[in-house]
């Protein structure tokens, strides 16, 4: 039975990779016209809307967890920082790969480094993402150094880790919010249910929530895949924080809609209001779920809630980049199968590389070592003390 399952997932994986490989050929040999449904009226599709907007958001767990553990010093989450940073690092690398597909001339991707336009949001996002990917590499490096027992390099890196982590949080704050600012230039193109000067704030808060939800998602899967128990208590704790962050986001979203009087557009026919509704429901339901103690006590329900929220987040970003722009563009856009195939192959590659890295590098803390450490400490109720000694 498990063998069947294994082959089933392997089969799916190779089908996705094969579809992606063929689409890659079509994209780079025949061009964007042959491989996408994009047009002069609709120049951005799901490679921007999903691969970039969602990809960067789904990788927000790296900076969220790094801040919770290393800045706010909430040590109990220590065990899931590394997997979160690995997810983020992989996420950003895959975002860059996806960008290479979308750019008309991908070999010029380095141009913003020397050709500046500080008035451009895209310029700022480009710089932040480049720098932050470097930061993530440095945050991820200790796992590699540990694996190959490079003690000296480990010690050097440890001394500069604090500024690196602070830089990571700031760079993330800047580009997570700036992805929303990208859309500020469309005051007349974006549907009023989505266009607001608050976009950078909304993007930032929803990215934090997504980072937390993604951490729950990935911890649950690693627990299942590697038969680990440690994460269960942590993901239940995370869901409490997530409930608060989602409610902050919802409050901001609705206050803004009410202040702008945008809710009246719900009377207008069209698919916008339904997709807006879908986005809101997919975020409100998990929020309400996480406020119930019964949900928080059950890892399965927490996982389900996290998945719902992630779907809500993806719906929001896709709405931003496609639904909200369709009416003003005058054309309909639905991705070509090659666009979907590239996106799915990138996701599949992400899962595979994560599995590979977890297998070969010390990503998860040794549970037994952790337990021993706790047993050794005289004051069980002072976890801060115990881990401080461990340092």
């Amino acid at each position: 039975m498990t063998l069947m399952r294994k082959y089933f997932w392997r089969g799916i994986f190779w089908i996705l990779i094969a579809g992606g490989a063929w689409s890659t050929f079509v994209r780079f040999y025949y061009g964007l016209g042959a491989s996408t449904n994009l047009s002069d009226q609709f120049p951005w599709g799901i490679w921007i809307g999903f691969d970039i907007l969602c990809g960067v958001g789904l990788a927000a767990g790296g900076f969220t967890l790094a801040a919770i553990v290393h800045i706010f010093n909430i040590k109990s989450f220590h065990a899931i920082v590394r997997p979160a940073i690995l997810t983020a690092f992989l996420g950003y690398l895959l975002v860059v790969v996806a960008l290479m597909f979308d750019l008309g001339r991908p070999y010029r991707i380095w141009h913003p480094i020397i050709m500046w336009n500080p008035r451009s949001v895209m310029f700022e996002v480009g710089w932040c993402v480049t720098l932050y990917t470097t930061v993530l590499f440095l945050e991820f490096l200790p796992a590699v150094l540990e694996r190959f027992k490079l003690r000296k390099a480990q010690a050097v890196l440890k001394n500069v880790m604090l500024p690196i982590i602070i830089a990571g949080v700031i760079l993330s704050t800047l580009h997570q919010s700036s992805l929303g600012s990208l859309f500020l230039i469309f005051p007349n193109k974006l549907h009023p249910l989505w266009y607001t000067s608050m976009l950078p704030v909304l993007f930032y808060v929803s990215a934090i929530a997504t980072g937390l939800a993604m951490t729950i998602f990935e911890s649950w899967h690693s627990s299942k895949a590697f038969g680990r128990q440690l994460e269960y208590s942590l993901i239940c704790k995370l869901s409490r924080i997530l409930a608060v962050v989602i409610s902050v986001y919802m409050a901001l979203r609705f206050l803004d809609l009410i202040h702008r009087g945008a809710l009246s557009t719900l009377n207008q026919p069209g698919m916008e209001r339904w997709l807006f509704g879908l986005e809101i429901v997919l975020m409100a339901v998990p929020m309400l779920m996480f406020f119930r103690e019964k949900t928080r006590e059950n890892p399965h329900s927490v996982y389900l809630g996290a998945v719902l929220f992630l779907l809500g987040f993806v719906t929001n970003r896709l709405n931003m980049s496609t639904t909200a722009l369709e009416a003003s563009s005058g054309v309909k856009y639905f991705p070509k199968w090659t666009e979907l195939a590239v996106t799915l192959a990138i996701i599949a590659a992400g899962f595979a590389i994560f599995r590979f890295a977890v297998h070969y590098l010390p990503i998860f803390e040794d549970e037994h070592a952790h337990e021993e450490e706790q047993r050794d400490s005289p004051a069980h109720d002072l976890p801060v003390l115990a881990t401080a000694k461990g340092d």
């Binding site: 994009l38 002069d40 141009h111 336009n117 700022e124 602070i166 002072l382 801060v384």
Partner: protein
């Protein structure tokens, strides 16, 4: 000192001489089939559009403060002091933000090219140094398109409206649209009836993104102070505990 173009749609007879003149500028093919395509694209940078008995012309509006130039991450698009918004192809990496941002849906992409570029009217920028007219206005047999100084063309347009108030809609398109454009349009009917977007903002678009971008230095400073402060406080407990343990 800014060059501009005045298109008086009441004088336009739809002969499409401007389209064919434009194709010579870009060495693009031009035939009856392309003439019949009433939309701009990578192989047709200006077009005449038919609305019953009326005609209207579409070309890059050469905004005073263009959204395309402000959003371009590599500054491939630039508003020149002389008026034209020009495109430096060697910089372009093909993100297509200019196309998404343009309020008039002007920039086109070479979708079928393996290594595509953006295509748009550049106001015959090769002729700007000599103050020459654009090819389209040079070839226009009725004087519907004329090139000149922006302020003089606005004066001319106002004069035409004042002299024949019954023949003109009492507005000039391009004076306040997105903060002003270097292409000005006159019409006999409200502009939206002949294909011009009258719902565009009345102020320049780059300000909308700049309102957010200008806060970046503040975020960096405040973020560093906050993070450093929180770190200091949150790790102090530990330090105290450590020292107490030592005593």
């Amino acid at each position: 000192m800014a060059r501009a173009l005045l298109y008086d749609s009441t004088l336009c007879v739809g002969c499409r001489q401007c389209e064919s003149a434009c194709s010579t500028r870009w060495k693009l093919p031009y035939d009856d089939k392309i003439a019949a395509e009433e939309k701009t694209s990578a192989h047709k940078l200006t077009t005449i559009r038919t609305y019953g008995e009326r005609f209207s012309r579409k070309l890059c509006m050469h905004c005073q403060d263009p959204a395309c130039a402000s959003v371009c991450p590599v500054a491939a698009l630039r508003k020149t002091a002389a008026g034209p918004v020009v495109y430096e192809a060697d910089r372009c990496m093909g993100c297509r933000y200019c196309m998404a941002a343009c309020p008039f849906q002007v920039p086109s992409y070479e979708w079928n090219a393996r290594l595509p570029l953006v295509r748009k009217c550049d106001f015959c920028s090769d002729r700007v140094p000599t103050n020459g007219p654009t090819r389209c206005s040079e070839e226009c047999p009725t004087g519907a398109s004329i090139t000149g100084e922006r302020s003089q063309l606005i004066a001319e347009a106002k004069k035409r409206i004042a002299e024949k108030p019954t023949e003109y809609y009492q507005k000039i398109y391009g004076i306040e649209e997105v903060g002003g454009t270097s292409v000005l349009v006159l019409s006999a009917v409200p502009f939206e009836q002949i294909g011009y977007n009258t719902k565009v903002e009345k102020s320049a678009l780059p300000q909308y993104t700049w309102n957010a971008l200008q806060h970046i230095p503040d975020v960096v400073v405040m973020g560093t102070v906050l993070m450093g402060g929180v770190y200091w406080i949150s790790h102090r407990k530990e330090q105290v505990a450590k020292e107490e343990g030592r005593q």
